[in-house]
Every structure is written in structure tokens, then in C-alpha cells.
């Protein structure tokens, strides 16, 4: 079963570099909307297993990564392709919206 990947300062750069398409959800435990999309992120991790990497960054535990991308609002979801930041979504959205972005990047 596919599961999302937990990213932090130690494994972030490597994961982005070594995978074709990566979606990263920046969240924190106290953030209501983040919790509301948590089940969606888990489902996406399963749906896209083997095609794209679905990852999460706990901004409380990994503030350096959040700082690196200037995250000022959560949830923010960043999309990377071939190691480059190509798209982002700020605020909670339905599953289909995230899936559409992933599909577009996977071509």
C-alpha cells in the first residue's frame, strides 16, 4: 500500500532531485484545514503509488524546509518536476484539484 513520505531537512533535497514528480504538503498539527486535507493526501499517496511521490513536511518539526520555500501559510502544497518547483496551491482544496495538477505534470 502506498504511503506518503515524511520529508525533513535531511532528506528533502535528495527526494526532490531523485524523483520525476513530487507533491509536498506543508502542514502543522494545530492547523484545522491541514487536518482536513490529511485524508486526501493519504489517498493521493495510494492512487499515485509508483507514478509520483506524495510527501508531507511538518513545518513545526522542519522549519528550515518551510523557510527555504518561504511558506507563510498552511496548508501549502508544492509540486516539483525534475527537481524544479513548477506549481503550488495555497489553502485546502478538494482531492480532484490536487489530482488534476499531478495528472498534468505526469502528462
Amino acid at each position: 500500500m502506498g504511503k506518503y513520505v515524511e520529508l525533513n531537512n535531511a532528506n528533502f533535497a535528495e527526494t526532490i532531485k531523485n524523483n520525476n514528480v513530487v507533491m509536498v504538503d506543508f502542514w502543522a498539527p494545530w492547523c484545522g484545514p491541514c487536518r482536513m486535507i490529511a485524508p486526501v493526501i493519504e489517498e493521493l499517496a495510494e492512487d499515485y503509488e509508483g507514478k509520483a511521490v506524495v510527501a508531507k513536511v511538518n513545518t513545526d518539526e522542519a522549519p528550515e524546509v518551510a523557510g527555504q520555500f518561504g511558506i507563510r501559510s498552511i496548508p501549502t502544497v508544492l509540486f516539483f518536476k525534475n527537481g524544479e518547483l513548477v506549481d503550488q496551491m495555497i489553502g485546502a482544496a478538494p482531492k480532484a484539484n490536487y489530482a488534476a495538477k499531478l495528472d498534468a505534470l505526469l502528462g
Partner: protein, 308 residues
């Protein structure tokens, strides 16, 4: 054919789901994210009767879905696109399929409104926020601005005063319309500086917010703050009630849904509850009560159709 479909999983929808399923009708809630609703943006709730500990919105809503599911209510994560009445039932278009139900309770709530200043949209998530409990953390020991003068604005200014080094509260009038107890706490808080009779003209910055320009009667103030929290009311999420010919039920001039005291809309079998309905008090307890009222009505309505 389902008995009842509830659209939206905030306090109103979850309470309707609890009541209807407990009374034995087949009930499904469709929530586009996951249950909880707008209240999960709030840092502190101290006025939900019977809950004496001060809780965050997230904590307050924690067990509501489970309580509804205990009685058989189904909660699905799906966005509803439209509703159409056909003969004596409804067709509900979801993202990936169309389902049928004898009755519908619309509990889609509201979303934070924009204040309408220059560059506001471009800087959302880049310094502009509508959720202090989510984003306050990014401004630890920095100065922030809060825009608004109602209960939410003042409560969240107080919350932010515990994190930020200073909070500028920007209000367009000379008096607050928030409850007196909250106003008193704000006035006594020495980390909050109030700018009355002030309007935000624009926000500026390169990639992120660097500051805002505030206009007062005779002058403009340049306030260098990296964070701006906007709490200027809500707009109602009524898109689901709209189709190509307009709204499927009667609406009020302010954009809310016309209902009677039983939460009935002008269309038989369709109910509207919580923040979207006429004269909504915008309180969790009121939304929950609306949900219960509508559920009781829907159960009666479904029984009548089945027995006719």
C-alpha cells in the same frame, strides 16, 4: 435512492446527520474536504454551551463525525457540483457520479471574505492570511496587522498577541461591533495597537508582503509588517444551489437562502442550515440547532413520500 443527502460537514451538516440517522433514515453527508467546517480556523471557543473548557475549533469538532457515524450516518469526501429536483426526488451531481435522494439539506457554510484592497489576492499565502491559528506561527516575534472590527478579528488579534511582538488592529470605524468582553480584553492588551477610522489601501512587497499602506482621513501610513490577517466577514457558499437558470430556490437580497423557521426553502424537500441561511447568527451552537431542526423536518418529509 437515498433518503437524505446533506451537503457540507461543518457543525450544521454533522448535527443534521446525527439527528436524521438516529431517527432511522438513510443519511449521507458529502463534504468536499473532511468534516469540521470553518470553525476549525478558530483558535478559541469558549461559548459552546456545555463545553466548559476553552477549546480550539479543531478540538471542539473532533468527535462530531464519530457521533453521527455511530448512528449509521455515512460521511463521504466528495464535492457536490449541483442539485436538481426531478419529480419528487433530487438528482445530485458529484464530482464523478450522479446520485438520487428524496431530500437534501444544504449546509455548505461560508468562506472568509476579502477586504478588497489592492494586491490582496496576489499575496494570499504570501503574507496575507485568514487563519491565525494556522499561520500565526510563521510570525513569531514579528509585527503583524489584523484587519477587521468584529468578534473574529478581535479574538484572533488576541491570539496573535501571544505569538507576535506587536499586533496592529486596523478598523475602519471608531467603535468595535465585537462583544464587550472581547473589546475589553483587546483594549487592555498592551501588545495590540488599534488604528481606528483606518482602511487598508494596499499591500506591497516583492515575492512576499513587506508592508501595507493605510489610509486615514487626512493621511496615509506605511506600516512595515510581514503578516496581514484579514477578518472582515464571510461570503456564503451557495454555488451548489445555482444552475443555468439561476437559483433553484428563493434567495434573499444579501445572498443568503430564504428559509422558514423549519429551515425549509421554497423547494419542497430542500432545507438550508447554518451560515448560508437567512439571518444566520454565525455561531456553532446555532448551526448545530439548525441542523437538528432540518433533520426532523426531512425525516417527516421522507416518511410522507414513502407512505403516499
Amino acid at each position: 435512492m437515498k433518503d437524505l443527502v446533506i451537503i457540507g460537514g461543518g457543525p450544521a451538516g454533522l448535527s443534521a446527520g446525527l439527528y436524521a440517522s438516529r431517527m432511522g433514515i438513510d443519511t449521507t453527508i458529502y463534504e468536499k474536504l473532511s468534516p469540521g467546517g470553518q470553525i476549525t480556523l478558530s483558535s478559541e471557543i469558549e461559548n459552546y454551551p456545555g463545553v466548559c473548557d476553552v477549546k480550539s475549533g479543531l478540538e471542539l469538532m473532533q468527535c462530531w463525525p464519530k457521533q453521527a457515524e455511530k448512528f449509521g450516518c455515512k460521511i463521504e469526501s466528495s464535492e457536490v457540483k449541483s442539485i436538481k429536483k426531478v419529480e419528487n426526488y433530487f438528482e445530485i451531481e458529484l464530482f464523478d457520479k450522479t446520485i438520487q435522494s428524496l431530500s437534501v439539506i444544504v449546509a455548505t457554510g461560508a468562506s472568509p471574505k476579502r477586504a478588497g484592497f489592492e494586491n490582496e489576492e496576489e499575496f494570499i499565502g504570501k503574507g496575507i492570511s485568514t487563519c491565525a491559528v494556522c499561520d500565526g506561527f510563521f510570525y513569531r516575534n514579528q509585527e503583524v496587522a489584523v484587519v477587521g472590527g468584529g468578534d473574529t478579528a478581535l479574538e484572533e488579534a488576541l491570539y496573535l498577541s501571544g505569538i507576535a511582538s506587536k499586533v496592529y488592529l486596523i478598523h475602519r470605524r471608531d467603535k468595535f461591533r465585537a462583544s464587550p468582553a472581547t473589546v475589553k480584553r483587546v483594549l487592555e492588551n498592551d501588545k495590540i495597537e488599534i488604528l481606528y477610522n483606518s482602511k487598508v489601501k494596499k499591500v506591497y512587497g516583492e515575492q512576499f508582503v513587506d508592508g501595507i499602506i493605510i489610509s486615514q482621513e487626512n493621511r496615509e501610513i506605511d506600516l512595515k509588517v510581514p503578516g496581514v490577517f484579514v477578518f472582515v466577514g464571510n461570503s456564503k457558499n451557495t454555488e451548489v444551489l445555482k444552475n443555468e437558470d439561476g437559483f433553484i430556490c428563493e434567495m434573499c437580497d444579501d445572498g443568503s437562502v430564504m428559509v422558514d423557521l423549519n429551515m425549509k426553502t421554497s423547494l419542497a424537500g430542500l432545507y438550508a442550515v447554518g451560515d448560508i441561511r437567512k439571518d444566520a447568527a454565525k455561531q456553532v451552537v446555532c448551526a448545530a440547532a439548525d441542523g437538528a431542526v432540518a433533520a426532523l423536518q426531512a425525516v417527516k418529509y421522507v416518511d410522507e413520500i414513502k407512505n403516499s
